[in-house]
Symmetry: C2
Subunit: 195 residues, 2 copies
DNA sequence: ACCTGAACACCGTTCAAGT
DNA sequence: ACCTGAACACCGTTCAAGT
């Protein structure tokens, strides 16, 4: 709650430059983008980067924070205009698409869905988990989502669908279909087996 | 078919040492294991490693070739003792478990399920795709697998399930459950919606 | 024919020196 | 209080020199 001490003018300028460059770099080279290169492109010494963002993860988190908040807000918007089941499905599609388009996002969201999560109780993790929680609960009350799955399960499976979809074509063209397969199941719904 | 020229004795010894060490190293450090370290642990110069395995991928492939062949053989064994649907499910479980336990395997099998696959028409890729093809076709004829999914889809989704499962706990404890969710679907089978 | 290891380029991270 | 950039450790890859 206490206002953090405001940064010195040059520090703030460097901080913002680093973030802007980092977003570009992660988009270009994925989560493994060279930190040294980011510092150079931002026109600061490498030490400055480490001062502001002690770990790669901290930089990823700061770089994508607004996208993640937008995603969480999107969950509520979808919940307001669609039936719960469809809202969840559509949100998972946007989440998956985002994780493929913004390659750093996947690496960032990964730790947020691990079991212990002790070290990963990050702000953005909570943000996504809460959004998923609301959509999941609503769909379960509606009866269009199995009652025995938890928000974390759904998030992990969305992660998996994004992985499967990116494997397919390096982009996300199969994501909608794979989400449908996950929703409906690989086993035929009507039991008309036989020739 | 023509027998490749037999390696010189020292070359063959180095080749085998490198493979043995590589399997250990990939298990220990994942697909990113240091190649230099592998060479050192095998007691050879780094140049020797590159002579035998020009790319990391070549080394991964050679290191895991026998496991992949075993996996393919396992597909037929399962097909012989179980109904097609169950055989497919069980095989996917073993495949997924393998991709989590032997961390290099996932990186190796990834390119084998991409669309173009031009550069990835590797021997071990064919091996896995063929095995999956047989199981998928049989299950579809039995009527326990949707007719509109292809072997590649199933392999990619297995990849995704392994990813989701590893995210969960760093091991594969959720894999069976996630495979079941994929098979049955996230939507309840019986439409008893409502309170 | 094959091996070795020095050499080069690159990256992450730290920290003494500067302002 | 913050920044810089040299310094160190590490890794991948190549290649001239050796056997």
């Amino acid at each position: 709650m206490a206002q953090v001490r405001p940064m010195r003018a040059d520090a703030r300028r460097n901080y913002e430059r680093l973030l802007r460059v980092a977003v570009e770099a992660f988009a270009e080279h994925g989560e493994g983008a060279s930190l040294d290169d980011i510092a150079k492109r931002a026109g600061v010494g490498s030490g400055t980067l480490y001062r502001h963002f002690p770990t790669r993860h901290a930089l990823l988190e700061a770089a994508y924070l607004d996208r993640i908040e937008a995603l969480a807000a999107r969950a509520d918007a979808l919940a307001a205009e669609l039936p719960p089941g469809e809202a969840l499905l559509e949100w998972l599609h946007e989440l998956g698409t985002g994780m493929i388009r913004m390659r750093g996002l996947r690496a960032l969201l990964g730790p947020a869905v691990t079991e212990g999560g002790s070290a990963a109780a990050t702000a953005c993790g909570d943000c996504v988990r809460n959004a998923a929680g609301r959509l999941v609960r609503a769909a379960q009350e509606e009866g269009t989502l199995r009652p025995d799955v938890e928000p974390m399960d759904v998030l992990r499976l969305a992660h998996g669908v994004a992985t499967a979809s990116e494997l397919a074509d390096g982009q996300g063209r199969h994501i909608r279909r794979y989400l449908a397969l996950l929703t409906e199941g690989l086993r035929p719904r009507d039991a008309d087996a036989g020739s």
